[in-house]
């Protein structure tokens, strides 16, 4: 309706403008063509008639005739000109608003309609011919590369020389013991963007760190680089969700438009370095890249160069430091001033990693500025992740009882949003805003779209969820201890410390039935009990936040959105086992989580919730944060301990278990973030309330990151026992239209796939294991019929092979051989016997590896072999990829309904599309690199992949 009104108003305005223009033009034409000659003659006659009556008499009829002729001509010009302009106007109007939907209209030949339609929408089509076409060949087209010169002018690439003093300063702050190595290397890399040899030598001279240790560690962790890097670092996420959404194509295109043709990872000017990162945990926005601290999501091969240009423009515009004013700085600039007598209005903006990737920072800044302009009638609050990641950036407005949630908010929407909920303070502001609104409506079409169109009903997403771990996520300011406490925070710790003995605490946990949420599902109380009964001391509690599983981001979200909860859980655990020291080990790929963990620890210490003699009891507990450095295997307990001790994250045989001999050889309790985050709720609501949820063997809730080919992706928390189907179809809204639900990947590279026909499997440790998958840390990546099972297995194996610490023969060489076979199969070079060899290798790698990484690495292969063996056979025997994914086995073909717009040819980086305007294009199979850019570019869906 609005659109119609809008279009009629627009039409009327256009008609008025046209009429005016027509009048002006006709006057002009008249003046130009009639006046100079005719008018002079008439004037001359007039003059003579006035002075001479004889002449007057004779010439009167002639004068009249001349005058009539003049009027006739003038009218002809006027009406002709007006008609012409009106015709042009109508033509444009027809093209703009009245175009028939299917191009068939009033007997106009379809080809003409198409031609006109193209003329309407597109720049004139370029004649694109293929390189092979002969003498009229033009060089391969494709979008041009990125011009880096503006950025280079503002940020010349400079590489610092290594100054021993700087290294010594780093050692002074990070420490000189062996276990300081990771923080030391991180600090060096932050300074030089890589680890210069000279710096490492200096470290070895001036500390207890040995060259062997430094070299081993520097080459083990993915974060570290030993060759100089460009001025800006682009990280391409290769997590599962990004992979199935086309991360490979994004990376290829990124390298292409930066002119990185050789094998190196830095462009020729040294401006950008492109790195691959296992997962940055923004799976709902897949595929994602980060450029320095900026995140860009939902990329395609076509849009990636735009993202890069945006980064460059921004960096240039900000004149150097490349950073916007942070929302935090804005908050101090525009402090909240509650309106007099008005109900408190709270505006929450989701500012987790996903939100920021989707543009939350700009919205946040706009909110602050707008609310300030309105007189500060509301509190703007940055909160964590509410889980509805597919709607980020999310803004929630809470005014008394009413709560309105807005999704996909842009900075431009903020005015309308604030205007709807926050009355301007004072008469002057009211008038000003009213005038502002009217005037804006006159100039800005968007202003006619009411903000209510952004409102989101979260019910279908939230109804089946039960929020225990996530109870505060998206509701509290993650760094405000007072807010956490208002919502019952620290009460559980208080209860434990003041009313329960450690044994009673463990007993509570036992009654709750809580099992480790890191993947294996070991009963938490048993682990605590063993650690408590270990005679040695001191004891340590480690919070395992090394969420390396690509496609999972629940630990990140909890640490970002509700870090106090994790601290409280750790303190309870420490009290129960008798530890006085704790370490939060977080992936460095999660900078916000690291920051929030550090800040919350500082705040808790400041308020006496950590430190000496907490609440006046004898219990003391200190916590520090250690950053990982990009190694999946460090999620494994013994490797994690090695990592904290400053060594290569190489697992060792268990027993002895860390509970007996862990960090520094002392009893160590290692619990996952989510496990610890359950504890405050358990102690506030009682273990029985927790045990009431779930199944016989799996109690409580489980947080999943639901991503992949699903309509509503995000972070969810469901009671154990819910079925996979309820999650995918109920909460996630099913796969996109026109596709079929194929399988769910559970547990990442250690897990496996659960096919659609087993989707009624309940979420339960044992039930999931029976399918061959595992509960894992909680990544659920949904696949549809355009995902190839073999290719997914290959992807996971490449991941595990890459992440293998290289210790065990089976894991180091065995997975490599499996990967080679899978690569061969995907490339259409599989041979009879390959599938059987895969089976055999899988079985042996499983039993012949020391740690969980190797033991579970074959799971994706085993489960896809179990459920999609026919796809493997199709690849090997028929050289066919049923899902049309494997590049060597597919072909692109242009369908008959191609309109000949040449867009695909312009997008094709390989020059493989023969495109003559308005004629159906063709793909040259031998030149085609199967990058899929043409499919993305085609507005008519006229390119078939098979």
């Amino acid at each position: 309706m609005i659109a119609i009104v809008r279009s009629w108003l627009g039409l009327a305005a256009a008609a008025v403008a046209l009429a005016a223009a027509a009048w002006l033009v006709s006057e002009y034409l008249y003046a130009r063509h009639v006046t100079p000659v005719e008018k002079a003659r008439v004037e001359d006659l007039k003059q003579r008639a006035r002075t001479d009556t004889e002449v007057q008499k004779v010439l009167k009829p002639e004068w009249d005739r001349q005058h009539e002729e003049l009027v006739r001509r003038r009218n002809a010009y006027r009406y002709g000109g007006m008609a012409l302009l009106v015709a042009i106007g109508v033509f444009f109007a027809w093209m703009r608003w009245l175009r028939p939907p299917d191009g068939q209209w009033l007997g106009v030949p379809p080809r003409l309609v198409r031609m006109l339609a193209k003329a309407r929408d597109r720049p004139a089509p370029a004649v694109v011919s293929r390189a092979r076409a002969g003498s009229d060949a033009t060089p391969a087209p494709g979008p041009p590369g990125i011009d880096l010169s503006p950025l280079l002018r503002h940020h010349p690439v400079e590489n610092r020389a290594v100054e021993p003093g700087a290294i010594d300063a780093i050692l002074l702050s990070a420490g000189t013991r062996r276990d300081s190595l990771l923080p030391v290397l991180q600090a060096i890399q932050a300074r030089y963007r890589y680890l210069p040899d000279a710096a490492l030598r200096r470290v070895c001279e001036a500390s207890a760190i040995t060259p062997a240790q430094a070299a081993g560690v520097a080459t083990f962790y993915g974060q570290f680089r030993l060759t100089p890097a460009g001025a800006h670092i682009i990280r391409v996420c290769e997590g599962t969700a990004c992979h199935v959404a086309g991360a490979v194509e994004v990376r290829t295109e990124l390298r292409r438009c930066l002119g990185m043709t050789d094998g190196g990872d830095t462009d020729p000017t040294g401006t950008f370095t492109v790195e691959r990162v296992a997962c940055i945990g923004s799976c709902s926005l897949a595929p994602v890249i980060t450029v320095d601290d900026q995140i860009y999501g939902h990329l395609t091969a076509l849009s990636v160069s735009g993202a890069l240009r945006q980064f460059i423009d921004r960096a240039v515009a900000l004149g150097g430091n490349g950073h916007r004013r942070s929302p935090a700085a804005l908050a101090t600039l525009h402090p909240h001033v509650p309106g007099r007598g008005a109900p408190p209005i709270e505006i929450r903006i989701g500012s987790g990693t996903c939100g920021r990737a989707a543009g939350a920072d700009a919205v946040h800044a706009a909110l602050h500025e707008t609310v300030a302009a309105f007189g500060g009638g509301a509190l703007v609050k940055a909160v964590g992740c509410s889980g509805l990641c597919h709607h980020e950036p999310l803004v929630e407005v809470i005014a008394g009882e009413s709560r309105v949630l807005y999704g996909n908010v842009e900075a431009d929407d903020v005015r309308a949003l604030v205007r709807r909920h926050v009355p301007p303070a004072g008469l002057l502001r009211k008038v000003r805003e009213e005038v502002h609104d009217v005037s804006r409506r006159l100039v800005d079409d968007r202003a006619w779209t009411p903000i209510t169109s952004r409102a989101v009903d979260p019910a279908p997403y939230l109804d089946k969820q039960v929020r225990i771990v996530l109870e505060n996520c998206g509701a509290v300011d993650p760094l405000r201890l007072d807010e956490y406490r208002q919502r019952g925070g620290m009460r559980a710790l208080e209860t434990c410390l003041t009313r329960l003995t450690p044994d009673e605490v463990i007993d509570h946990v036992r009654r709750s039935g809580l099992r480790g949420r890191g993947g294996a599902g070991f009963p938490t109380a048993v682990k605590w009990d063993i650690t408590r009964r270990s005679a040695d001391s001191p004891k340590y509690v480690i919070c395992n936040g090394d969420e390396g599983d690509p496609g999972a981001f629940m630990d990140r979200a909890v640490l970002e959105s509700d870090p106090f909860r994790v601290i409280e859980g750790m303190a309870i655990a420490a009290y129960a086992i008798g530890a006085s020291e704790g370490i939060v080990y977080v992936r460095s790929e999660y900078p916000i989580a690291v920051r929030h963990a550090r800040a919350s620890i500082a705040a808790a210490e400041a308020h006496g919730w950590l430190g000496e003699r907490i609440l006046g009891t004898p219990f003391s507990f200190k916590v520090q944060v250690r950053e990982g450095a990009g190694a999946f295997v460090c999620g494994e307990e013994t490797a994690l301990i090695q990592s904290i001790e400053g060594e290569r994250g190489m697992p060792r045989l268990r027993p002895p278990y860390p509970a007996q001999s862990g960090l520094r050889g002392k009893p160590t309790l290692i619990n996952n973030v989510e496990t610890l985050a359950c504890l405050p709720w358990i102690f506030r609501h009682g273990p029985d309330a927790f045990a009431a949820l779930g199944t016989d063997t799996s109690k409580g809730t489980k947080v999943f990151s639901l991503t992949g080919k699903v309509k509503r992706s995000g972070l969810i928390e469901v009671p154990m026992g819910i079925t996979i189907r309820e999650i995918v179809e109920g909460i996630g809204g099913g796969v996109p239209e026109g596709r079929q639900f194929k399988a769910v990947l559970a547990g990442g590279p250690s897990g496996g796939c659960i096919p659609a026909h087993l989707a009624d499997t309940p979420v339960d440790f044992e039930a999931l294991a029976s399918t061959g998958a595992i509960m894992g840390s909680g990544g659920l990546v949904v696949l549809d019929n355009r995902d190839c099972a073999v290719e997914i297995a290959r992807y996971f194996l490449q991941f595990t092979q890459n992440e293998s610490c290289g210790k065990c023969t089976y894991c180091r060489v065995g997975t490599k051989r499996m990967l080679e076979i899978l690569e061969r199969i995907c490339a259409g070079r599989g041979v009879e016997g390959d599938i059987e060899t895969l089976d055999e290798l899988s079985a042996r790698v499983r039993t012949g590896s020391l740690c969980g990484l190797g033991q579970t690495a074959p799971n994706p292969v085993l489960t896809t072999l179990r459920y999609f063996r026919d796809e493997y056979e199709a690849h090997v025997r028929e050289r066919r990829c049923p899902a049309a994914v494997c590049k060597s086995l597919i072909h692109y073909r242009v369908l008959d309904h191609c309109t000949g717009c040449t867009l695909c040819a312009q997008a094709c980086p390989a020059g493989a599309i023969v495109a003559r305007p308005y004629v159906r294009h063709e793909v040259a199979d031998d030149l085609c690199t199967r990058c899929g850019m043409c499919v993305t570019a085609c507005p008519e869906n006229a390119i078939e992949v098979a």
Binding site: D197, L200, R201, C204, T210, P211, A212, Q213, A214, A215, G216, T219, F220, G222, A631, R648, R652, L653, P655, P656, Q801, N802, E803, S804, C805, G806, K807, C808, T809, Y810, R812, V813, G814, K816, R817, E820, E840, L841, R844, R846, T847, G848, S849, L850, Q855
Partner: protein, 729 residues
């Protein structure tokens, strides 16, 4: 606190803190391990010491697993053995090095070429002749006619040209034969057992040599008047003079071998009679029947075997002036060159495939052409007739090459309408030979389509005490394979006669590096000086076609020593002590099972004491620990992740800086040849007069990679490198 556990059904009591490995050793149970070094903390990386602990789903490395009360352990189930075998296969698949020189793995007789060449280069004539004779039995003969598979694999091929191995053992043997005090091995004490050997060709002679050395009596039966088999009757004297062969056969006579010539199996003596009279029988009857042309009129053609035999015995066939030889093997070349010497003015060789597919040595083709032989390819006979005038008329059809057949060579396809007829005074069929087992048909001996049937590992037939080998089993094949078969038969017969289990001669598993890339070649040749291959002299063509005198001359002593010194000793310094190789042999691991990407060959010889070849490292990390414990300033580090993990010198230092103090210890504890002491140990397998071999020609564990390539064009070809792959002699 002592605790008790059960290992393989036996209980043992050990102190707490003991590992399962130590507990097993206390019981005398041998658990294999590569990565564990006593005194160092467990590395638990190789997974060879994996054992099954009851109640655990995965296998556990016993070197790191602490013994626990009541633990039940199995160390040697099928599952564990399979796991160990696969672990070894995976390690071997990523092993960048040759265990023994690739020449040795290429030689069917496993001739210790590097050891032999070392002696030649040192000027030890007698010693080198001993090695040659003990491995090859007929080194002077083989030195003249062997297609020298060894030379095709010589790493020198990648620099200038292969070592002249054949020329050198001819040189060594010739000098020994001419010395007057020729080498005759000292046999063991007489065993009192007698063995009948049917066929005095290379296989029979080789078996006799090795049986006689082991103290058994050997009686050789042969239908011909002279011993030597095809070497005597199938190879023209201008390639192998009869007196050279006679001298080498003389050694067997000196050892006590008895020859009963002119005795034909089946006609003059029956197998049953031999079995009654002798303790064992070795059938080495060869493949001596020429195959026909397989076209109408084939009976009009002269079989090449008969033609050559007549020439060798001085009987002259009437071949006329215009000779056509059909076939592309060495027999065809020999026949054509013999025909030239018998006075034919026009000699043509017709072959149905192209030159590239010819199974003979390229050098032979070139020699024949030099002597005036015309080689026509892509021609196949379809009909042979005798014209009314008495001339032979051969109708041929031209061929085109089609898709590769099962032998990997292009299959010839006739071109329609290309038939033509040519005249000749004589047509010689040199298509190939088959086994004539007619004399054995009535016995219970099993016979296959190809020849006699024998177990490839032991050469035993289905009849107890009867063994068979050489061309009789494999079909017409290389003489050196027959020699190898003779020795395998001798080993098996010796086992049989001694009442031991007949198991043949199991061979050590050897890794053979596949083709080296540019970077690896650079590493390989870093410390090698360029040296050209020594040339031999051939008699001028005009001179040599007039008689049957030898064409090629031997090396001069100085040239021979210089040539032998070109050998780079490509084998591993730890070939005999490498634990990986020993376990691989014990578990029957196949190095090529998981062939795929492997680390690059790299060699760091910058350290004064040790050589480091990272491609042979199994990542046990023992060297890293030893260096760290010794307090080396720089030390060694494990670097990288995933498949790329390696042991390296940290911070771009040199090996000499890294381990100045503990280099020797590092080389000692290294379980493979990754770290080896310079100048200690041997590159070659070492000379042993009973060398390990598997001379049946079917290499079970080593598939020579360059030969396994589908297209022979991919094998580097140089004028001086023999190109024959399946030549028929």
């Amino acid at each position: 606190m002592p605790l008790t556990l059960t290992i393989d059904g036996r209980t043992v009591t050990v102190e707490a803190g003991t590992t399962v490995l130590e507990a097993a050793r206390a019981l005398g149970i041998r658990v294999p391990t590569l990565c564990h070094v006593d005194g160092l903390p467990p590395s638990s990386s190789c997974f060879l010491c994996a054992v099954q602990v009851e109640g655990k789903p995965a296998l556990a490395p016993s070197c790191a697993m602490p013994a626990a009360e009541g633990m039940v352990v199995r160390t040697d189930t099928d599952e564990i053995r399979a796991s160990r075998k696969m672990a070894l296969e995976l390690l071997l698949s990523d092993h960048a090095g040759d265990c023994i020189g690739p020449c040795m793995t290429g030689c069917p007789a496993r001739f210790d070429i590097p050891g032999f060449l070392t002696e030649v280069a040192a000027g030890h004539d007698r010693r080198s002749a001993e090695i040659a004779a003990d491995f090859l039995v007929l080194p002077a003969a083989l030195g003249r006619i062997c297609p020298r598979l060894c030379e095709q694999r010589c790493h020198r091929c990648d620099a200038e040209a292969a070592l002249s191995v054949g020329g050198l053992h001819r040189y060594a043997a010739d000098r020994d034969l001419a010395s007057g005090s020729r080498y005759v091995p000292r046999p063991d004490a007489p065993s009192g057992k007698r063995v009948a050997i049917v066929g005095a060709g290379p296989a029979g002679l080789s078996a006799a040599y090795h049986l006689l050395r082991r103290g058994h009596a050997a009686v050789l039966f042969d239908a011909h008047d002279e011993p030597g088999g095809m070497l005597r009757y199938g190879i023209p004297a201008f390639r192998l003079p009869h007196e050279v062969l006679a001298q080498e056969v003389g050694v067997i006579r000196m050892l006590g071998g008895e020859f009963r010539m002119g005795v034909r199996l089946g006609a003059d003596v029956a197998l049953d009679a031999l079995r009654r009279e002798f303790d064992a029988v070795f059938l080495a009857i060869g493949a001596q029947t020429s195959r026909g042309l397989e076209c109408p009129g084939e009976e009009l053609a002269l079989p090449a075997v008969a033609f050559l035999e007549h020439a060798a015995t001085g009987r002259r066939d009437d071949i006329g002036d215009n000779v056509l030889v059909i076939g592309g093997g060495n027999t065809a070349m020999d026949a054509s060159r013999t025909a030239v010497r018998l006075g034919a003015h026009r000699v043509r060789v017709l072959y149905r495939r192209s030159r590239r597919e010819m199974p003979c040595l390229m050098a032979e083709v070139e020699a024949a052409e030099a002597e005036g032989v015309a080689v026509e390819t892509l021609v196949a006979p379809v009909r042979l007739e005798r014209s009314p005038a008495g001339r032979l008329q051969l109708t041929c059809v031209r061929m085109a090459l089609g898709a590769p057949d099962e032998s990997g060579r292009a299959r010839p396809v006739p071109i329609q309408g290309s038939a033509f007829t040519t005249e000749a005074s004589c047509v010689i069929a040199a298509i190939g030979q088959t086994v004539d087992a007619g004399g054995l048909r009535s016995d219970a001996l099993q016979i296959s389509r190809r020849g006699l049937l024998a177990d490839p590992a032991t050469l035993a037939t289905n009849l107890p005490g009867v063994f068979a080998g050489g061309d009789a089993v494999s079909g017409a094949d290389l003489a050196v394979r027959a020699v190898a078969a003779g020795r395998l038969a001798a080993v098996s017969i010796d086992q049989y006669l001694g009442g031991r289990r007949v198991q043949g001669d199991p061979e050590m598993v050897s890794v053979v590096m596949s083709r080296l890339d540019e970077q690896e070649l650079a590493a390989f040749f870093r410390q090698v000086e360029e040296a050209p291959r020594a040339a031999t002299v051939e008699r001028p063509v005009a001179d040599r076609i007039r008689d049957f005198g030898e064409v090629e001359s031997a090396f001069e002593p100085e040239a021979a020593r210089r040539e032998a010194a070109r050998c780079m000793n490509c084998g591993c310094w730890k070939a005999t002590t490498c634990q990986l190789r020993q376990y691989a042999t014990e578990y029957g691991a196949d190095p090529l099972r998981f062939a795929g990407a492997r680390r690059k060959f790299e060699r760091d010889a910058s350290h004064p004491e040790v050589v480091y070849e990272p491609g042979k490292c199994i990542l046990c990390g023992a060297c890293v620990q030893v260096a760290a414990e010794a307090g080396e300033t720089l030390g060694l580090a494990i670097v990288g992740r995933g498949f790329e993990v390696a042991v390296a010198v940290p911070l771009r230092g040199t090996l000499a800086e890294a381990i100045p103090a503990v280099a020797r210890r590092v080389a000692e504890i290294c379980p493979t040849g990754a770290f080896a002491l310079k100048g200690v140990g041997t590159c070659a397998a070492g000379h042993d007069d009973r060398p390990l071999a598997r001379p049946d020609g079917r290499q079970a564990t080593i598939i020579p990679l360059r030969l396994a390539l589908p297209n022979r064009d991919q094998v580097p070809r140089r004028a001086d490198v023999p190109s024959a792959v399946d030549e028929r002699r």
